[in-house]
C-alpha cells in the first residue's frame, strides 16, 4: 500500500532540547563526527488505493494543520513512497 511520508522538524531558531541531549551523548559513545543534532518527527500515512493529487493535497494540509505546530515546527517534506 502506498504511504505518504511527512517530515516535521523544530524550526532552526527554536531550542531543540531533544537534539541537545543527543549531541551531548554521542561523543561519550565515541561518535565524534557530528556537531549538531536536531530531532523531529516522521509520520507515515497509509493510503488505501492510489495517491491522487487531491490526497496529496490533503496530506499537505494535514501536515500544516495537525501534524506540525507552526509556532515552533516546520514541515520539511511531504512525499509519496511506494512499498
Amino acid at each position: 500500500m502506498p504511504r505518504i511520508v511527512v517530515d516535521v522538524m523544530p524550526k532552526p531558531e527554536i531550542l531543540d532540547p531533544q537534539g541537545k541531549a543527543i549531541v551531548g551523548a554521542l561523543p561519550r559513545l565515541g561518535f565524534t563526527a557530528f556537531s549538531q543534532v536536531r530531532q523531529g518527527k516522521r509520520f507515515e500515512l497509509t493510503v488505501d488505493g492510489e495517491v491522487t493529487e487531491e490526497i496529496l493535497a490533503q496530506a499537505r494540509e494535514a501536515a500544516e494543520k495537525l501534524l506540525s505546530n507552526p509556532v515552533i515546527e516546520d514541515v520539511v517534506n511531504v512525499e509519496v513512497v511506494a512499498d
Binding site: 523544530p10 531558531e13 531550542l15 532540547p17 541537545k20 541531549a21 509556532v71 515552533i72
Partner: protein
C-alpha cells in the same frame, strides 16, 4: 557597530524606539539620562527594562501600600521583603521559606504547552536565585468557556506543559485553581507559584559587589527566544501586521533546569557565589543592570563572550533574548576554580563575561568597543513612573444593581424537593464545580516524599524538616466576578479565602504573594479596579497581620478594548510545627462515627 562613540557623533540617527514599545516621552527621557542618543544596544536595554512588565511603571505607586501598611507584628518573621526576586519568611529552627507567584498569560495564549511550561520554569528560577531549594509548585488557571473550541486548544496544552515541566523538575504540584469563564476567552490566565526552603545562611541576594569579582553566565546558550517579548507582551496590543513585533516563543528544557537547580544548590553549599540572578524577561539586560544596580559599584562585561545558540544574533538581540534556563552569578576570584569544577560535574556550560568595578557604571563591550555605558540604576530602578488617571466606572452602579435576586430566576427560587434536587445537581455539574482530578492526575504530587496534603484538599502541605515534621501550607485563591463587582472587597475576599484554606488545614497563616491580573492601565476603569484591589488587599493584610512578601502584576489582559475581569490571585503561606497535625478537607475512610459541625455565620 553602533558604539557609544558613534552615538555621540551621530545624534540624528533614526531609532526604532516606537517599534520597541517606548513612548515619545520615554525615549526623550532616555536621551536626557544619557546626555546623547542611545546606541542600538542601549535602546534595546531601556525598552525592555522600561516596559510595563519589567518596570511596574503603572502599578508601582499603588504597590507601595504593601510596604507601607505593615505593623511590627508583620515584620517579625520577614527576612527579605518585597523587591527581591522573592520574599523570604523565617520558619524558625534556622529554616526559611521563599515563595512567589507569577503570570505567563500571553505566552500561553500563543503557544499553550511551551508558554505554560516556561511559566513554571521561570518562577522556579526565581526561587533558586534566592538560595533556596524549590520544593513544590502550584498553578492557578483561568480559561474561556468550557465549550468554546479554542479553550480545548489552550487548556490541554497548558495543563500538559505545566505537568511536563514541573514533573520533570521533581517538584510536586500541590494545588491550584481551574476556572472557566468566557471573559478569559481571548486571554487565559496561567499563573504559576513556586515555593522553596533554605537555611538562613543560604539566603542569596541579586547584587554585584566587590571590585574585581567575576561575572559569569551559565546554563543554556543564548538564542533568539522571545526577543522583544518582554516589551511587546506588556505594551498595548499584538499587531499581527507587523511580524517583527510578534514575540518569538520560548521553548523550555526542563532537564536543563533540573540540572541547574542541583548545580546552584551545590554552589550555595560551597558558598561559591557572592550574588546571583535568574534570567527571565529581558534576559541579560535585566540581569546585568539589576545586579549592578543592587550592588555598590559598577560592572563591565564583554558581550562577545556570551555563548550563543544562534551565531547571527546582534548585540541588542543578545541583550534582549529570553532564552530559558540561564543564570548569572558573581564569583570572587578565589572561587573560580571551584565554580568551574561544579559546572563540569553537572556538564553545565558557562562563560565568564566580565567583572564588578567601582565606577558606578554598567559598561558593555562588543569586541572591546563600548556599546553600552549607563548608570545601571536608570535602567533597572529609576524607570518611568506613571500616576495613571483612574475613576470609578460609570457602569459600576448599574452592574451592582443587576443582582440575581432581582432577576426572574431569583424571584422563582426552587422550593419543592424535586426543584431543589435539580438545582443542586445543576450546580454540581457546572464546569467550575466539577471534579478537577483530570488535571491534577497529570501532575506528580508525590515526588520528594514530603507532600502531606495536595489535591483535592483546600491547601497543599509540604514537610520542610524531616526531623521535626515542621512544614508549610499553601493555598491560592481569586474570584474575578466578585472583584469585578467590587474590586476593593473582591480582592479582600480572595485573601480571606486563601487565609481560611491555609488555616483550616491546621497551619498558621504567615505571608502573602499575589499575582494581579488586570486589563490595560491606560483605561481609567481598569486602573480604578487595580487601585482598589491593591488598596483592599493591603488593608486586609494589615487587619489579618500577614505581610505581602512578593508578587507580580500582569496588565493589558484584554481582547481588543474588552478587559478580563480584574483577577487578583492571592497565595497564602502558613506554617506547621508538625505537618502530622494537618487536617484534610474531606473525611477519611476511618472517620466513621465522628461528628460534623458547621461553624461561622
Amino acid at each position: 557597530m553602533d558604539t557609544v562613540a558613534n552615538a555621540a557623533v551621530t545624534p540624528d540617527t533614526e531609532l526604532p524606539w516606537a517599534e520597541l514599545g517606548l513612548k515619545q516621552n520615554e525615549f526623550d527621557e532616555v536621551v536626557k539620562v544619557l546626555g546623547r542618543r542611545p546606541t542600538a544596544a542601549e535602546l534595546a536595554m531601556y525598552s525592555v527594562m522600561w516596559s510595563e512588565h519589567c518596570s511596574y511603571k503603572s502599578s508601582k505607586n499603588h504597590l507601595r501600600q504593601f510596604g507601607d501598611k505593615v505593623s511590627e507584628e508583620m515584620k517579625k518573621d520577614m527576612l527579605v521583603g518585597i523587591g527581591e526576586n522573592a520574599g523570604v519568611t523565617n520558619l524558625g529552627d534556622g529554616w526559611a521559606v521563599t515563595f512567589k507567584i507569577e503570570s505567563h498569560n500571553s505566552p500561553t495564549m500563543i503557544e499553550p504547552y511551551q508558554g505554560a511550561a516556561t511559566g513554571i520554569g521561570g518562577i522556579v528560577r526565581d526561587i533558586i536565585s534566592m538560595g533556596a531549594r524549590p520544593v513544590a509548585v502550584m498553578d492557578p488557571l483561568r480559561f474561556g468557556a468550557i465549550d468554546h473550541p479554542d479553550t480545548a486548544r489552550v487548556i490541554h496544552g497548558a495543563v500538559a506543559g505545566i505537568g511536563g515541566y514541573g514533573n520533570s523538575l521533581g517538584l510536586p504540584n500541590i494545588g491550584g485553581e481551574m476556572v472557566f469563564d468566557s471573559v478569559y476567552q481571548g486571554n487565559p490566565l496561567v499563573n504559576a507559584l513556586a515555593v522553596g526552603v533554605m537555611r538562613h545562611e543560604d539566603i542569596r541576594l541579586a547584587n554585584a559587589s566587590g571590585k574585581g569579582n567575576k561575572v559569569v553566565l551559565f546554563g543554556a546558550r543564548t538564542g533568539g527566544d522571545g526577543i522583544g517579548g518582554a516589551s511587546i507582551l506588556s505594551s498595548e496590543s499584538f499587531d499581527d501586521t507587523k511580524p517583527s513585533k510578534r514575540p518569538a516563543v520560548q521553548v523550555g528544557d526542563p532537564f536543563a533546569e533540573k540540572v541547574l537547580i542541583e548545580c546552584c544548590l551545590e554552589l550555595f553549599k560551597g558558598s561559591l557565589v557572592e550574588g546571583i540572578q535568574d534570567l527571565g524577561a529581558a534576559g541579560i539586560s535585566c540581569a546585568t543592570s539589576e545586579l549592578a544596580s543592587n550592588g555598590d559599584g559598577g560592572m563591565e562585561v564583554e558581550l562577545t563572550s556570551v555563548l550563543l545558540r544562534d551565531p547571527t544574533l546582534t548585540p541588542g538581540e543578545i541583550l534582549m533574548s529570553e532564552s530559558q534556563e540561564r543564570m548569572m552569578a558573581v564569583v570572587s576570584p578565589e572561587n573560580i576554580e571551584a565554580f568551574e569544577a561544579t559546572m563540569d560535574k553537572w556538564a553545565v556550560e558557562y562563560s565568564w563575561l566580565g567583572e564588578v568595578t567601582d565606577t558606578g557604571r554598567l559598561i558593555i563591550k562588543w569586541d572591546g568597543e563600548v556599546i553600552v555605558d549607563v548608570d545601571p540604576r536608570t535602567v533597572a530602578h529609576d524607570g518611568p513612573l506613571y500616576d495613571r488617571p483612574y475613576a470609578r466606572p460609570e457602569w459600576q452602579d448599574a452592574l451592582q444593581a443587576d443582582t440575581f435576586k432581582s432577576s426572574e430566576a431569583g424571584a422563582n427560587l426552587p422550593s419543592t424537593g424535586a426543584e431543589l434536587k435539580a438545582a443542586l445537581v445543576e450546580l454540581m455539574a457546572s464546569p467550575n464545580m466539577c471534579d478537577k482530578s483530570w488535571i491534577t492526575n497529570q501532575y506528580d504530587r508525590y515526588v520528594g516524599g514530603n507532600t502531606a496534603l495536595a489535591s483535592p484538599d483546600d491547601a497543599g502541605v509540604i514537610r520542610v524538616d524531616e526531623k521535626t515534621g515542621m512544614g508549610v501550607a499553601l493555598a491560592t485563591d481569586a474570584n474575578g466576578r466578585y472583584t469585578f463587582l467590587d474590586p476593593y472587597h473582591g480582592a479582600q475576599l480572595a485573601l480571606a479565602e486563601a487565609y481560611r484554606n491555609v488555616a483550616t488545614s491546621g497551619a498558621v497563616p504567615m505571608a502573602v504573594s499575589d499575582c494581579l491580573n488586570f486589563g490595560s492601565p491606560e483605561d481609567s476603569d481598569v486602573m480604578w479596579q487595580l487601585a482598589e484591589a491593591i488598596r483592599g488587599l493591603s488593608d486586609a493584610c494589615l487587619v489579618l497581620g500577614v505581610p505581602v512578601t512578593g508578587g507580580n502584576v500582569s496588565l493589558y489582559n484584554q481582547t481588543g478594548s474588552t478587559p478580563i475581569h480584574p483577577t487578583p490571585v492571592v497565595a497564602m503561606l502558613g506554617k506547621f510545627d508538625d505537618v502530622d497535625r494537618r487536617t484534610p478537607s474531606g473525611w477519611r475512610a476511618d472517620a466513621d462515627g465522628q461528628a460534623l459541625y458547621l461553624l461561622g455565620t
